[in-house]
């Protein structure tokens, strides 16, 4: 029995020690008075870190302040205030604010523990962190909750309404007249600043506002977040716009036939409501020097390369189609749009260009829809030069070295022969007749050749053109070598395509068409000399990724459905 009593005594002692904590007056300035209990006299506080026992009280005079520490929490008292320390138990901490103003910053509350501030009329049970309480002897009081929440309870139940309720952060509560209902409002900026300011008795004016500066910093961060959100929204709206502007995009990195690493970006855009443009941008960090592209073109006239190494090379292959009707806004409706008999292309251009330098070397073909023939035709009429019969229905080639700003006029078919009656082979803009300096056109004539192979997928072509369709303007040649290559740059064979047992999608993703063009001088046949000096070749690679994904999408995503 004695043993049990000893164990109980030890346990109880530990509980008593653990459950009790102390309120310590850690700092004060000015005239601060202390009273041991309600029967004793007020006396001066002897020193800082003075222990305030249950039942004691302190009061501050004009211009004085005090700070109390209890269980990781702090209570600050401003001038002309009186505070009773009612309980300092770890599970129940209670202060009575008789009059004046206090701030409490409460942290580390245990489950079921309570921290409260009582005034003459009410009890504020603090559940959160920072609050400010004001109290007066006439019973009026107010509470501002900066963070967390406070459980409010009337000491004397009101005639009407709830006796207790929760006041959440950001709210300001006040009882101005004990006979009248309470009022609840948003915390004012002044009160928020007052709570955030430093109430430490020894703090300077600068210290007082350090927390406010911190809060302003946090506000700044939130403003930055909102600005970021707005920018994301803007991105979203741009994205939505882009969805209409650029219907398909694709990109691939591969090796070209020369072994250069190539990045290809492809996108399908709509320059206007009737026009579709497929951009195929070919970028190479380093374009290595070579003499001939392949064993097939070696020593063939017109196919020699003479420019040397080129850093940061950019080529492009741009296909543009314009239609007689507005394209549907949704890609999903293209299938029915294109199968409509009343829809036909108005014109089309195929532009192959070397965009590396400020002046652009290009070759292009244009096609115009002839109503009477019901088809797209490439003859002199594409440059506005009429022909009375189809006798000279040979291809017209547009080429030249032009300023970058003029490339759009070529792709958007804004060009025509400068002198319609006696063609010179030079071009002007359709819309304002201004010169497209450096651009010429020529009509294909006999004299060209073509080499290809049934097993290996390559083609070498040379074609002779007469400038302005008039012998008096002279001649030039186009030499073009086309290869179907794999992503590793090797030339593909017929079997690679037809007997590979691969899906169409796999074949498309692992193939590209490399097309290298040279414009050469005429010297009783094609010469190896560049027609445009210092502009040797255009080396584009066309991939089928966008076209394939377009077909996939236009076919209504049928693979999502079971059959």
């Amino acid at each position: 029995m004695v043993k049990i009593n000893v164990i109980f005594l030890i346990f109880f002692s530990f509980y008593a020690i653990d459950s009790h904590s102390q309120a310590i007056l850690v700092d004060f300035n000015g005239e601060v008075k202390y009273r041991k209990n309600s029967l004793s006299e007020w006396e001066d506080v002897p020193s800082k870190n003075f222990v305030l026992n249950d039942g004691s009280a302190i009061k501050t005079k004009e211009g004085s302040k005090a700070k109390i520490w209890i269980n990781k929490s702090f209570v600050w008292i401003k001038e002309n205030s009186a505070l009773e320390i009612e309980s300092t138990s770890k599970y129940f901490t209670s202060f009575g604010l008789v009059y004046g103003k206090l701030k409490a910053s409460v942290v580390g509350l245990l489950k079921k523990s309570k921290f409260q501030v009582r005034t003459i009329t009410a009890v504020f049970g603090v559940r959160g962190t920072d609050i400010m309480v004001k109290s007066a002897l006439d019973g009026s009081c107010s509470l501002d909750v900066l963070y967390g929440e406070v459980e409010f309870q009337y000491l004397i139940p009101p005639k009407k309404g709830e006796r207790s309720f929760v006041i959440s952060q950001g709210m300001s509560f006040s009882i101005d007249d004990v006979e009248k209902p309470y009022s609840l409002s948003m915390i004012s900026k002044e009160n928020e600043r007052e709570i955030l300011s430093n109430w430490d008795p020894s703090s300077t004016v600068e210290d007082s506002y350090s927390d406010i500066i911190k809060m302003e910093d946090r506000k700044e961060r939130i403003r930055n977040f909102i600005a970021y959100s707005n920018s994301v929204k803007s991105e979203i709206s741009q994205f939505v716009y882009k969805e209409k502007d650029s219907d398909f995009e694709a990109g691939r990195t591969l090796k070209d036939i020369h072994g250069n690493t190539v990045r290809i970006d492809q996108r399908l855009v709509r320059p206007d409501s009737k026009t579709l443009e497929l951009f195929n941008i070919v970028k190479r960090k380093n374009y290595k020097n070579y003499d001939y592209s392949s064993p097939y073109s070696k020593n063939q006239s017109g196919f020699v390369y003479s420019k040397g190494d080129v850093p940061n090379r950019v080529d492009a292959f741009i296909i543009t189609f314009s239609f007689n009707k507005d394209l549907p806004s949704s890609v999903n409706k293209w299938q029915s749009f294109f199968s409509d008999n009343s829809v036909n292309p108005a014109w089309a251009t195929f532009v192959n260009a070397n965009l590396t330098d400020s002046n652009v070397f290009f070759v292009a073909e244009a096609y115009k829809y002839i109503d009477s023939r019901g088809e797209l035709i490439n003859n002199t009429e594409v440059v506005g030069v009429p022909q009375n019969s189809n006798e000279r229905d040979m291809d017209v080639l547009i080429t030249g070295v032009i300023e970058k700003s003029l490339v759009n006029d070529i792709t958007m078919y804004n060009f025509k022969e400068k002198n319609r009656e006696t063609p010179s082979g030079e071009l002007v803009k359709k819309n304002n007749n201004s010169d497209i300096t450096g651009a010429i056109w020529g009509l294909k004539i006999d004299g060209g050749s073509e080499i290809n192979n049934n097993e290996t997928l390559y083609q070498l072509k040379t074609n002779k053109y007469v400038k302005g369709a008039s012998d008096s303007n002279g001649y030039f040649w186009l030499a073009q070598e086309n290869y179907i290559i794999s992503n590793s740059g090797s030339i593909k064979s017929r079997d690679d395509i037809l007997s590979s047992n691969k899906s169409v999608s796999e074949i498309v993703k692992n193939s590209g068409l490399e097309s290298i063009s040279y414009v050469r001088k005429d010297s009783s046949g094609i010469s190896d000399e560049n027609y445009f000096s210092n502009f040797s070749n255009i080396d584009s690679i066309l991939i089928g990724d966008v076209v394939f994904s377009m077909l996939e999408k236009v076919s209504s995503g049928v693979d999502k459905w079971k059959y």
Binding site: R127, G148, S168, Q169, I187, I226, K333
Partner: protein, 247 residues
């Protein structure tokens, strides 16, 4: 054609919101085409409207939510969700944020009714759930930032009668039976504007399917009004109306 009518009727109410489109039928067909391309994604966006990922207000322990529009009405997406406050901000440590858990379920009972009433549709099932957590920190007394994680799942099934040939915009279809799963991170800001009146903006990014959604909402003691924005969705802006009770 009943299939087409079934799907068109699902977003018939959105036509009221698209006065710029001269031809409602064209717009509907365009939407149907997008739905056909990826049915679960479309139904997921509608279900996402019922997923309430806002923090429990300070002073409250949990929220009980029912999304009324466009989910319950008119799409018959019966749904409910709860946001439970596990830990109040700064209770044991000043730097600890508020921690909320949330979860909810949704079931489209109208799909079943439509299936029973239709000769073309044999069966239709749309149901899903979501769960996650939210951390909330106060920036000042009236503004809180929140961030969290959400796991969402949607099961979609539509079985058409095998005895008939069904076509949607020229594409022959039979049925679909698939699910949509998304794990999202979310960020947002909530601001107290008046007593029991708040507004919030939120960005929600799906890690699995790279889905992006934005949300702006205003809410009081009983209801929440807002807009969900799906930049890549069939319907980009969804107006929302949610009953949201806090206890």
């Amino acid at each position: 054609m009943e299939v087409l009518r079934f799907i068109i009727s699902l977003f018939g109410f959105f036509f009221l919101l698209t006065p710029l489109y001269s031809s409602i039928k064209d717009k509907a067909e365009e939407m149907v085409a997008q739905v056909v391309a990826d049915p679960p994604k479309f139904f997921y966006e509608l279900k996402n409207d019922s997923e309430i990922t806002l923090p429990v207000p300070s002073g409250k322990s949990y929220n009980f939510n029912i999304s009324l529009f466009p989910t319950l009405l008119p799409l018959t997406y019966a749904n409910t969700s709860i946001n439970y406050n596990l830990y109040k901000e700064g209770k044991t440590s000043a730097s600890m944020p508020q921690i909320d858990l949330f979860g909810g379920v949704a079931y489209m009972f109208g799909a079943k009714i439509a299936a029973n009433m239709s000769d073309d549709i044999d069966d239709a099932n749309f149901w899903g759930y979501h769960l996650g957590f939210l951390l909330t920190s106060s920036v000042n007394s009236k503004t809180r930032m929140f961030y969290g994680f959400k796991h969402s799942f949607l099961y979609t099934e539509l079985k058409l009668s095998p005895n008939k040939k069904h076509e949607l915009l020229g594409v022959e279809i039979k049925d679909f039976d698939s699910s949509f799963l998304e794990n999202s991170v979310l960020f947002g800001v909530e601001t107290l504007k008046d007593i029991d009146k708040r507004w919030a903006i939120e960005i929600n990014y799906g890690l699995k399917n790279n889905t992006l959604a934005g949300k702006i909402s205003w809410y009081g003691k009983w209801f929440e009004l807002g807009f969900n924005i799906y930049p890549e969705g069939v319907i980009v802006i969804h107006p929302t109306w949610i009953m949201r009770l806090s206890f």
